[in-house]
């Protein structure tokens, strides 16, 4: 595994503890405490995941054993192929990738632009529009769900993917607000400098705002990916035939009125979780580059 926490070249670590040799022992103590806390946290936070893993390897009887058995007598790895083939999950996976992929790209494009507008561009109605945008977050989804559904069904788009990804291409208040908060912290002088160079707003956004807001963009990408990947309510309502189902919707079919197949549900649940963890692991790598700002600010 590569070190994700490589110290940035611009600020060598030696520069950062200049005073006295006592710093190193303090540093070592701090490191130890950090590791202790991280390992303790890991032990706690990994429990539900481990529960998923062990449950996915149990027989139906073992799932319901009382007192609960932590581990299965023999791990049932064949729960995985059995669960995966009990429904056309490969089709569901492809559908999920398409819908989530289109939504993430849509969210990124359609949120970065308005965020820049709200952070940097002045217009008389900016404040009002921003307030309106934040206000849309306050309307509970339950009450707009059905009117939105009626609209898409009038457009004859029920049982297609359009209702699931198209809205992502038209901005999402939470992400715009998030990006705006980060864009606002970028020093005005930088923008001025860029416009002195004759850069237009798109150029400024592209060459100054985006590179400097990489962590925030990574956060938006994570949230958009996770949110769309795990979304179950909209696919439930819009997707009618099984060949169009997503992974999250297929997963919900294991939940029965009188009987829930926990082992199969968890087997597919873990497979469905892996892409999320990979995306998160890759995206969180950007959470170390902030030091670049030190070279810029120069305040």
């Amino acid at each position: 595994m590569t070190l994700t926490a490589t110290p940035p070249q611009q600020a060598p670590p030696t520069q950062r503890r200049p005073i006295g040799s006592s710093q190193t022992s303090v540093e070592r103590f701090r490191k130890t405490i950090t590791y202790v806390l991280l390992i303790a946290g890991t032990a706690v936070f990994v429990i539900p995941f481990l529960w998923m893993v062990t449950t996915s390897l149990k027989t139906s009887q073992e799932v319901l054993a009382y007192p609960p058995k932590v581990l299965p007598a023999t791990p049932r790895f064949d729960n995985y192929p059995a669960a995966w083939t009990s429904l056309p999950f490969t089709t569901f996976l492809i559908n999920s990738i398409i819908i989530t992929g289109l939504s993430v790209i849509g969210n990124l494009v359609s949120c970065v632009l308005p965020a820049y507008a709200f952070a940097r561009l002045r217009a008389r109605s900016r404040g009002a529009l921003f307030a309106l945008m934040v206000a849309t977050m306050a309307i509970p989804a339950e009450v707009t769900l059905v009117p939105t559904f009626i609209m898409f069904s009038k457009l004859n788009l029920v049982n297609t993917y359009w209702p699931l990804f198209l809205p992502a291409w038209f901005g999402y208040a939470f992400f715009i607000f998030l990006l705006r908060q980060f864009f606002l912290t970028i020093p005005q002088e930088l923008t001025d400098a860029a416009s002195i160079d004759g850069a237009g707003h798109l150029r400024t956004l592209w060459s100054i705002f985006l590179p400097m807001s990489k962590p925030a963009i990574a956060a938006v990408a994570i949230f958009s990916f996770v949110g769309n990947w795990n979304n179950f309510l909209t696919p439930l309502i819009y997707l009618r035939t099984q060949n169009n189902f997503t992974l999250a919707l297929g997963l919900s079919l294991f939940k029965g009125q009188y009987e829930t197949q926990y082992n199969q549900m968890m087997a597919v649940g873990i497979i469905s979780l892996l892409p999320i963890l990979i995306v998160f692991f890759l995206a969180q790598r950007t959470f170390v580059e902030g030091v670049r700002l030190s070279g810029l600010g120069g305040r």
């Binding site: 520069q15 936070f45 980060f182 962590p215 979780l273 902030g290 700002l293």
Partner: protein, 309 residues
């Protein structure tokens, strides 16, 4: 798109109030904001207007709506469960936001230390907010179990008799608040993203001034993070005032309606009682509640949020 031709903006003379420049900037604003503005017109506005109209109608979803005048609002103001759910919602919202925002800030700082395997630790700490809901629910139902649960067993070790989490009216919301903090991975991610924007030179300067750990935290980290803290407070308050899935899974509003949140009440009216009109009226009450709280935060933010680095 990246290689867009440089605009003809005149260099230098950025006298901000000249009107052609301002007009051009306003045009740029509308251009850049257009995805959201169009989206609001196409997808947001219609359903919102519909929701507003529905609050003045009787509609069972299954048949055509009929005009109800103010009946839904009259019913709402006479409904004891409406007031109860508002109280529960505010209690849960305040508790989970305060605890969640503070805890995840500390966890984010922990996950921003320069140690080996940081990516692994971050991923594990993020796990609780993405593992299957049923796994989390089963875990927490067991953790909070009054007799044999983890928390009360721990308290018993110190001779304290733990409360009836989730089954005692007075302890059900505190139990849910504890649980909500667990899934605050998204808040941590936003903090982590924010922490990258703090220039190490600020810490170096503070160190040279002889600032201790606490001073650096309080006078550098917190002010520099204020826009991000503000964002997290605003959005997690909105989210927890709307929350209902957690309650639906854990307590279904019980015991004795102690965890009946406004969101759950709206959900019930809409999809259990098929009373969309009343659900819409309740939604506007929720909108007003969130609106007031959020507006208040924006006003207060002027005192403590610093955008300039």
């Amino acid at each position: 798109m990246a290689q867009a031709a440089p605009t003809l903006e005149l260099p230098g003379r950025r006298t901000r109030r000249t009107s052609p420049l301002a007009r051009r900037e306003a045009r740029a604003f509308y251009g850049f904001a257009s995805p959201w503005i169009l989206g609001f017109i196409l997808f947001g506005g219609g359903p919102v207007v519909a929701a507003l109209l529905l609050s003045f109608a009787h509609w069972s979803l299954l048949s055509t709506p009929s005009w109800a005048g103010l009946a839904n609002y009259r019913k709402m103001f006479a409904d004891p469960l409406f007031y109860k759910s508002i109280g529960n919602t505010v209690y849960f919202g305040a508790g989970s936001v305060v605890l969640g925002v503070v805890t995840s800030f500390l966890l984010a700082i922990l996950l921003n230390q320069k140690v080996r395997g940081l990516g692994f630790f971050r991923t594990v700490f993020y796990l609780p907010s993405v593992v299957a809901g049923v796994a989390t629910a089963i875990l927490w139902i067991n953790i909070l179990q009054p007799d044999s649960g983890l928390i009360n067993s721990f308290l018993r070790f110190f001779g304290i008799k733990g409360p009836g989490w989730l089954v005692d009216e007075h302890w059900a919301i505190p139990g849910l608040i504890l649980m909500s903090v667990w899934g605050a991975g998204n808040t941590i991610v936003i903090y982590l993203a924010g922490l990258q924007g703090i220039s190490p030179t600020l810490y170096e300067a503070a160190l040279l001034d002889g600032a201790g750990w606490w001073d650096r935290f309080w006078h550098v980290t917190v002010p520099m993070m204020s826009p991000v803290i503000f964002f997290n407070v605003v959005t997690s308050l909105i989210a927890s005032l709307q929350a209902y899935t957690l309650v639906l899974v854990m307590t279904e509003g019980g015991p004795n309606n102690a965890t009946l949140m406004l969101g759950l009440y709206i959900y019930r009216q809409a999809f259990e009682y098929f009373d969309m009109g009343y659900a819409a009226a309740l939604s506007w009450a929720m909108f007003a509640l969130i609106g007031v709280v959020t507006a208040l935060q924006f006003v207060l933010a002027r005192r403590w949020v610093h955008y300039d680095a």
